[in-house]
C-alpha cells in the first residue's frame, strides 16, 4: 500500500513556503476608523472624559503608518461635515436674538472639538499633510465651518443682517452686547481675512454709507455748521471706538473714509459756505473751537483744506478791502493802521490756535493782506504815520518790549507794501520832523526801527537816516562850541539859541521860505553864522525857519507869568505883540513874511485852541480873514507854568502835498528804473521789448511796482541819450551801446 502509486497520492497536510506578504487585518481600516469616529462623536457631545488619548493617537498613527492617510482624511472630512450639518440645524432653529448666541456657542464647541481632533491626528499632520499638500486638520476644520455654517444659504445673510442691525441700533443710541459682537467678528476673522471682508466688512461699509448719507441730509437741513461738525466729529469717534471694540483694525481707515465722504466731502461747499454759521461766521466771531474742528475734519477730505483756505483768503480780502477803502478810516491814520494790525493779530491767532500753524494758511493770509493793503495808495503814508505816532509817544504808553513788538508787527505790514519807496519817503519826512522838534521819545526805539528798516530795505536807504542822527549829534557839539568861543558879554541879554545843522541831501528837502525873524534873534543867529562859517570852510548856511521852535517867557496883563513852548513862526508872531497891542492879520503877515497857509495855521493854534488861547481874535470865528485883528489875551490862565502851544505838525498830508510827494516819488523812481534797464541790457546786450519789461518789473518789485508806461518812456529816453538803440531790422529788439 505504501509503495503502490505513492506518487499520485495527495498529501494530507501541506506546509506552504513563507513567500506571500503578511496580510494585515482586512478590516483594519474600518475598525480603526470606527474607533476614531466614535471618539469624535463623543468629543462633539462634550463627553470626552472617557476617551484615552494615547489609544486614539496610536490608532491614527497606525492608520497613517499603513498608508491609510488619504482615506482617513476623506472620512474625517465627511464626518466633520455631518457634525456641522447637525450644528447648522440647531443654529437655524435659534430664534431672533438667540441666533448669535447659538452660533457663538456652536463655534466654541467646534473649536474645542477641532483642537482635540487635531491632537489625535497630529501624526498625520506631521507626515502625510506636508508631503501631499493638504490643508492641516485644524485649518481644514475651519474651512468646513466656513462652508457649512457661515456661508450656508440660511445663515450667511441672516448673520450679516443681524450684525448690521445691531450696529444700526447702536448708532441710534441703543446698548448692544458688544462682547457677542466681538466674538462673532473674531470668528469671521479667524476664518480668514477674506471671509471677514466679503461676509461682513463690505456690506457693513455699504450700509454705513447709506446710513450716514441719510443722516447728513437730515442734519444739514436743520443744523448750523458748527453743530453739524460736532455731530460729524462725534460720529467719527464713535466709529473709531466701534472698530477698537469689536472690529478688525484694518476696518478703521475704511469706515473713516465712508463717514468722511458721506458727512463731510459730499457737503463740503455747503458746510463751509453756510450762511450765518459757516466758516466766515466762525472767523468773524473768533470761534476757535469750531475752527479747529473744521480744520481737523476737513483735513481728511481731499481738497478740504484748499477750500477752507480759499474761503478764508477771500473773506480776508473782502474785509480788508472794505477797511482800507472806507473813507471814514482815512481820517485817522493811526486808527487805520491799528485796525490793520488788529486784523493781522486776529488771523495770526486763528491760524496758530485752530489751523495748527499750517504754512499754507499763513501764506494765504500774507497774500491776502498784500492784496488789499495795496488797494489804498495811502497805506505807505499811514503806516509811516503810525510809526511816527508810536515813536513820539514812546514808552509813555507802553514799555519798551511792547513797543518793539508793535514795531515788528508794523514791519510785517511794511513787507506787504508794493510801494516800499513811498513809505521810505514818508518815513524820512516824519523822522526829520521828529528829530528836529525833539519829539523822538526814545533814541533806542528809533535806532531799533532803523535796524529793522536796514534789514528790509538795505544800507542805501538807512545811510541817509543815520546821517540825520549824526547831524543832530554834531549840531549839539557845534552849539556848545559856539557858546564856548563867543564871549559872554557879546551875548548878554540875547536869547539862547540851539542850532541844528542839517546836511542838505540827508534830510527831506523842503522849499524854504525864510521869514523875518525878530531882531533879537537875528543878531545872535548872525553871530552864529559867522562862527560856523569861520570854522567850516566853503559851506553855505540857510535858516529853515519853518522847522524850529522856541521857548518864550510871557507876562500877561493879569500878571500871570508863563513859559510858552512855540514854533519859530509862532514866536515871530508873539514877539510882534511886545510893541503893539492890536495887530490885524494883514499887518502880521507883512511884518513876519510867513507863508499864508502856515501863518493861518499858526494863528489858529495861538488864538483858537481851547485853554491855550494866548491871543484873542476879533471876530471869534474859526476862519481867518485879512482884516481880523488879534490882541494879547490878558485873561490867559493856565494851571501849568510851562504851556505847550500845539503846532499843527506831522499830520497826514493835505491833497496838494500828497500830490507833490507822489510826484517826487515818481521822479525818484525814474533813475532807479533807468539803472535797472541799463543793468539788464549790459549783461544781455540784446533783448526784446517784452523781456525787458518783465526783467525790470522783476528787479524792482521788492521796492515798488514800476508802471509799464514809465518804463517805456525811460527806454525812449535812454535811446535818446544813446545808451540803447533799436535793432535796425527788428524794431522790437534793443541793443546795448558802449
Amino acid at each position: 500500500m505504501m509503495n503502490g502509486g505513492g506518487g499520485q497520492k495527495k498529501r494530507g497536510t501541506r506546509i506552504e513556503p513563507f513567500r506571500h506578504r503578511v496580510e494585515t487585518d482586512p478590516k483594519f481600516f474600518d475598525k480603526s476608523w470606527r474607533k476614531l469616529h466614535d471618539a469624535i462623536r463623543e468629543i462633539y457631545n462634550h463627553n470626552a472624559s472617557g476617551l484615552s488619548f494615547e489609544e486614539l493617537y496610536r490608532t491614527a498613527y497606525n492608520m497613517v503608518l499603513n498608508k491609510f492617510a488619504p482615506q482617513l482624511y476623506e472620512k474625517l472630512t465627511e464626518n466633520m461635515k455631518e457634525h456641522l450639518e447637525d450644528m447648522r440645524t440647531c443654529i437655524d432653529a435659534a430664534q431672533g436674538g438667540l441666533f448669535l448666541e447659538e452660533l457663538q456657542r456652536k463655534w466654541n464647541d467646534h473649536n474645542k472639538a477641532l483642537t482635540m481632533i487635531r491632537d489625535i491626528l497630529m501624526y498625520m499632520d506631521r507626515t502625510y499633510i506636508p508631503t501631499n499638500k493638504k490643508t492641516p486638520v485644524f485649518d481644514h476644520g475651519l474651512e468646513l465651518w466656513r462652508d457649512t455654517i457661515v456661508r450656508s444659504p440660511t445663515i450667511q445673510s441672516r448673520l450679516s443682517d443681524m450684525l448690521l442691525e445691531l450696529i444700526h441700533s447702536e448708532r441710534t443710541g441703543e446698548v448692544i452686547n458688544r462682547g457677542l459682537m466681538r466674538t462673532t467678528t473674531k470668528m469671521l476673522m479667524d476664518l480668514g481675512l477674506s471671509v471677514y471682508q466679503d461676509d461682513f466688512e463690505r456690506p457693513f461699509l455699504e450700509v454705513s454709507a447709506s446710513f450716514y448719507s441719510g443722516e447728513s441730509q437730515q442734519f444739514i437741513e436743520c443744523c448750523a455748521c458748527g453743530e453739524y461738525l460736532k455731530q460729524a466729529e462725534r460720529r467719527l469717534s464713535e466709529e473709531s471706538e466701534r472698530v477698537s471694540q469689536y472690529l478688525d483694525v484694518k476696518t478703521h481707515e475704511k469706515i473713516t473714509t465712508v463717514v468722511v465722504n458721506e458727512m463731510l466731502a459730499n457737503h463740503m461747499q455747503r458746510l463751509i459756505l453756510m450762511e450765518n454759521s459757516g466758516l466766515v461766521n466762525m472767523l468773524v466771531e473768533d470761534r476757535y473751537e469750531d475752527l479747529t474742528r473744521m480744520y481737523t475734519l476737513f483735513n481728511h477730505v481731499p481738497d478740504g483744506l484748499t477750500t477752507i483756505r480759499s474761503v478764508m483768503a477771500s473773506h480776508i480780502k473782502d474785509t480788508g478791502k472794505s477797511l482800507v477803502t472806507d473813507p471814514e478810516r482815512l481820517k485817522d491814520p493811526v486808527d487805520f493802521v491799528q485796525r490793520l494790525l488788529n486784523m493781522k493779530d486776529k488771523y495770526d491767532n486763528i491760524i496758530n490756535v485752530s489751523f495748527s500753524n499750517d504754512k499754507s494758511f499763513l501764506n494765504a493770509l500774507n497774500s491776502s493782506f498784500e492784496h488789499f493793503i495795496n488797494l489804498n495808495n495811502r497805506s505807505p503814508e499811514f503806516i509811516s504815520l503810525f510809526v511816527d505816532d508810536k515813536l513820539r509817544k514812546g514808552v509813555k504808553e507802553a514799555n519798551e518790549e511792547d513797543l518793539e513788538t508793535v514795531l515788528d508787527k508794523v514791519m510785517m505790514l511794511f513787507r506787504y507794501l508794493q510801494e516800499k519807496d513811498l513809505f521810505e519817503k514818508y518815513y524820512k519826512q516824519h523822522l526829520a520832523k521828529r528829530l528836529i522838534s525833539g519829539r523822538a521819545a526814545s533814541d533806542d526805539s528809533e535806532r531799533s526801527m532803523l535796524v529793522k528798516l536796514k534789514t528790509e530795505c538795505g544800507y542805501q536807504f538807512t545811510s541817509k537816516l543815520e546821517g540825520m542822527f549824526t547831524d543832530l549829534k554834531t549840531s549839539e557839539d557845534t552849539t556848545q562850541g559856539f557858546y564856548a568861543s563867543t564871549s559872554s558879554e557879546l551875548l548878554a541879554d540875547a536869547p539862547t539859541i540851539s542850532v541844528q545843522i542839517l546836511t542838505t541831501g540827508s534830510w527831506p528837502t523842503q522849499t524854504c521860505n525864510t521869514c523875518n525873524l525878530p531882531p533879537e534873534i537875528v543878531s545872535v543867529s548872525e553871530k552864529f553864522r559867522a562862527y560856523y562859517l569861520g570854522t567850516h570852510n566853503g559851506r553855505r548856511l540857510t535858516w529853515q525857519t519853518n522847522m524850529g521852535h522856541a521857548d518864550i517867557k510871557a507876562t500877561f496883563g493879569n500878571g500871570s507869568k508863563h513859559e510858552l513852548n512855540v514854533s519859530t513862526y509862532q514866536m515871530c508872531v508873539l514877539m510882534l505883540f511886545n510893541s503893539s497891542d492890536v495887530l490885524t492879520y494883514r499887518e502880521i503877515a507883512q511884518s513876519t513874511a510867513i507863508p499864508a497857509a502856515d501863518l493861518k495855521r499858526c494863528l489858529q493854534s495861538l488864538a483858537l485852541v481851547k485853554g491855550k488861547q494866548v491871543l484873542r481874535k476879533e471876530p471869534m470865528s474859526r476862519d481867518i480873514a485879512d482884516d481880523d485883528s488879534f490882541f494879547v489875551n490878558d485873561k490867559f490862565t493856565s494851571k501849568l507854568f510851562k504851556v505847550k502851544i500845539g503846532t499843527v505838525a506831522a499830520q497826514k498830508e493835505t491833497d496838494p502835498e500828497k500830490l507833490e510827494t507822489r510826484q517826487r516819488v515818481e521822479e525818484d523812481r525814474k533813475p532807479q528804473i533807468e539803472a535797472a534797464i541799463v543793468r539788464i541790457m549790459k549783461s544781455r546786450r540784446v533783448l526784446d521789448h517784452n523781456s525787458i519789461m518783465m526783467e525790470v518789473t522783476k528787479q524792482l518789485q521788492p521796492r515798488f511796482m514800476p508802471n509799464p508806461v514809465v518804463i517805456k518812456k525811460r527806454i525812449e529816453s535812454l535811446i535818446e541819450r544813446e545808451f540803447l538803440e533799436r535793432d535796425k531790422t527788428d524794431r522790437k529788439m534793443y541793443r546795448y551801446l558802449a
Binding site: 470626552a48 472624559s49 472617557g50 476617551l51 488619548f53 494615547e54 493617537y57 496610536r58 498613527y61 474645542k112 483642537t115 482635540m116 491632537d119 497630529m122 501624526y123 506631521r126 507626515t127 506636508p130 508631503t131 501631499n132 499638500k133
Partner: protein, 446 residues
C-alpha cells in the same frame, strides 16, 4: 495636573516618572503635550487620594528613556546599542523629531567640525554639485537627476527635470528645491524648476519670455535675495544670454538682464546676492569662458556697477587663473582662488586694483602627479572662509584669513564640490561617488 506636578508613564511595561515641567519642554504641539493637555483630562484631573497620574503608552521604552532624557537636559545621548533610525522613528511618533535634530549636532564652527558620516552614492558617473539644505539635509546632482537626502541622511525620491543634465541645484527653503538643467538639442526641455524636497513632486516650471515669446533655455547658476527674487544665469537658443529674474511667490518672470558685450552673464558659474549693496554678483570663470569676468549688477538701474576681468592678462595656461569666486560676508571684497590654491582678493569699493594674491602656493604645493584633480571651490560661513583643493578643505579664520584647519579624509579622491548649510558641511568626492558629512559636536560638558 497631579500632585507636585508629577507624571507617571508606563511605556511598554516600563514605568517612568517625571514632572510636568520637564514635559512642557516638548511643547503643546507634541504627542506628550496633547496627552497632558486639560482638554483630554477633564474627569481624571485628580485621581483619588492625590496619587500620581499614570499614562500608558504602547511604545519602545528604551527610546522613550533617551527622549525623556533629551527633554530633561536638552542634550541627546544615544546608547551604542540603540539604532539611530529607531530613535528617529520614535521621536516622530512623539512629535519630537525637531528636538532631536536640534540636539543632534552643535552650531557650526569650521575649526571644530568632525566627520560624522560618509554616504556612498549609487549613481553612475561624477557628481556635479552638492547642496546643503537649511534643515541639515542635502542633495547631490548627478548627471540627469538630483538625489535628495533628509537630515537623517535617508534618501528620498530622486528629482529630475526630464533627465536633462543638471547644472545646479539650490534650496529655496527646507521644503523647496530648485533645479537648473541644460536644454538638449532638438528637445524643448531643460530650464529651471521648483520641486518639493519632501515628495519630489514638480511644483513649478520657470519660464523665460523674450519679446513676449516663451523660449526654452539652459539654466546655470542660481541665487536668491532676501525678499522675493530668484536669479539664474540663462542661455537661450538665439544668443538670448543673461540673468533671468523670477518672483519667488508667483514664480513669474519679473525681469531679464541681457548680457552686454564684454560681460559674460549667461554662462555664469556663480551668482550671489549682496544685500547691503543691493546688487547681484556674477562670476563667469575658466574653463567655461576663456576669460574670467566678475561683475556686480544693479537691477534697478540695469547697469553693471562694478566689474573685473582678466582679459588680456592671462596668456598661458601656467598663469594664475581665477577658478572660483565668492563675495565675502562684509560685502567689501570678493575672494578668488587659482589653480595653485592661492587665495586672492578683489576690492569691491574701488573700481580698479586687480587681484591681491596671497601666495600660499610655495608653502602648500602638494599636488600629487597623476591624480585626477578638481577645480577648487570657495565658501564662507560665520566669518570663516573655506576652500577645497584636491582631497581636502582648508579653513581660514580671522580678519586676515589665516589657515586654521584642514579637513581631509583618507579615501574618496578629490573633492569636486562642497556646501555649508543647516550647521553641516557636505563634501562631494569625485571618485567612488561618496559624500562626507561634517558637523560640529555638541559643546563639551564642562
Amino acid at each position: 495636573m497631579a500632585a507636585g506636578g508629577r507624571v507617571r508613564f508606563n511605556v511598554g511595561g516600563q514605568v517612568f516618572e517625571t514632572t510636568t515641567t520637564t514635559l512642557a519642554n516638548a511643547g503643546r504641539d507634541s504627542m506628550l503635550g496633547a496627552l497632558l493637555d486639560s482638554s483630554w483630562n477633564v474627569s481624571s484631573s485628580s485621581p483619588s487620594g492625590g496619587g500620581v497620574a499614570e499614562y500608558f503608552i504602547d511604545r519602545n521604552p528604551a527610546c522613550f528613556a533617551v527622549l525623556l532624557d533629551l527633554l530633561r537636559t536638552g542634550s541627546l545621548h544615544v546608547p551604542p546599542h540603540l539604532p539611530e533610525k529607531l530613535l528617529y522613528r520614535e521621536a516622530l511618533y512623539y512629535g519630537l523629531l525637531d528636538h532631536v535634530r536640534a540636539a543632534r549636532w552643535g552650531a557650526f564652527d569650521g575649526d571644530r567640525i568632525r566627520l560624522a558620516e560618509s554616504v556612498p552614492g549609487r549613481a553612475p558617473g561624477d557628481g556635479t554639485a552638492i547642496r546643503a539644505a537649511p534643515d541639515g539635509g542635502c542633495c547631490v546632482a548627478h548627471g540627469g537627476a538630483v538625489r535628495v537626502y533628509n537630515w537623517m541622511l535617508d534618501e528620498r525620491r530622486p528629482v529630475s527635470l526630464d533627465h536633462s543634465q543638471v547644472n545646479d541645484a539650490a534650496y529655496l527653503d527646507a521644503a523647496t528645491l530648485l533645479i537648473a538643467a541644460r536644454e538638449r538639442l532638438g528637445k524643448r526641455d531643460g530650464g529651471m524648476a521648483a520641486f518639493s524636497a519632501v515628495s519630489g513632486d514638480l511644483r513649478h516650471r520657470f519660464r523665460v519670455a523674450h519679446d513676449r515669446q516663451v523660449k526654452s533655455f539652459t539654466a546655470g547658476a542660481m541665487a536668491f535675495d532676501q525678499e522675493s527674487r530668484i536669479f539664474a544665469s540663462c542661455k537661450g537658443r538665439l544668443n538670448e544670454y543673461g540673468i533671468g529674474v523670477w518672483d519667488r511667490v508667483t514664480g513669474e518672470q519679473a525681469d531679464f538682464f541681457y548680457e552686454h558685450p564684454g560681460c559674460a552673464l549667461g554662462d555664469a558659474d556663480k551668482l550671489q546676492w549682496l544685500d547691503a549693496t543691493n546688487a547681484l554678483m556674477v562670476a563667469t570663470l575658466f574653463p567655461k569662458a576663456d576669460n574670467c569676468f566678475i561683475g556686480l549688477l544693479d537691477f534697478r538701474a540695469k547697469n553693471v556697477v562694478w566689474s573685473w576681468s582678466d582679459a588680456g592678462v592671462a596668456a598661458s595656461l601656467d598663469d594664475k587663473r581665477v577658478l572660483h569666486a565668492i563675495a565675502m560676508e562684509d560685502e567689501r571684497s570678493v575672494c578668488v582662488i587659482n589653480q595653485y590654491d592661492d587665495l586672492g582678493f578683489l576690492d569691491l569699493r574701488s573700481g580698479a586694483g586687480g587681484v591681491r594674491w596671497s601666495s600660499r602656493s610655495k608653502l602648500m604645493n602638494r599636488k600629487v602627479p597623476g591624480e585626477e584633480s578638481c577645480y577648487p571651490k570657495l565658501a564662507t560661513h560665520g566669518g570663516q572662509l573655506f576652500s577645497s583643493m584636491n582631497d581636502s578643505i582648508s579653513v581660514f579664520s580671522g580678519p586676515e584669513y589665516v589657515l586654521t584647519s584642514t579637513l581631509r579624509r583618507s579615501h574618496g579622491g578629490a573633492i569636486c564640490d562642497f556646501s555649508i548649510g543647516g550647521d553641516r558641511l557636505f563634501a562631494l568626492h569625485n571618485e567612488e561617488n561618496v559624500f562626507d558629512v561634517w558637523e560640529t559636536p555638541p559643546p563639551p560638558i564642562i
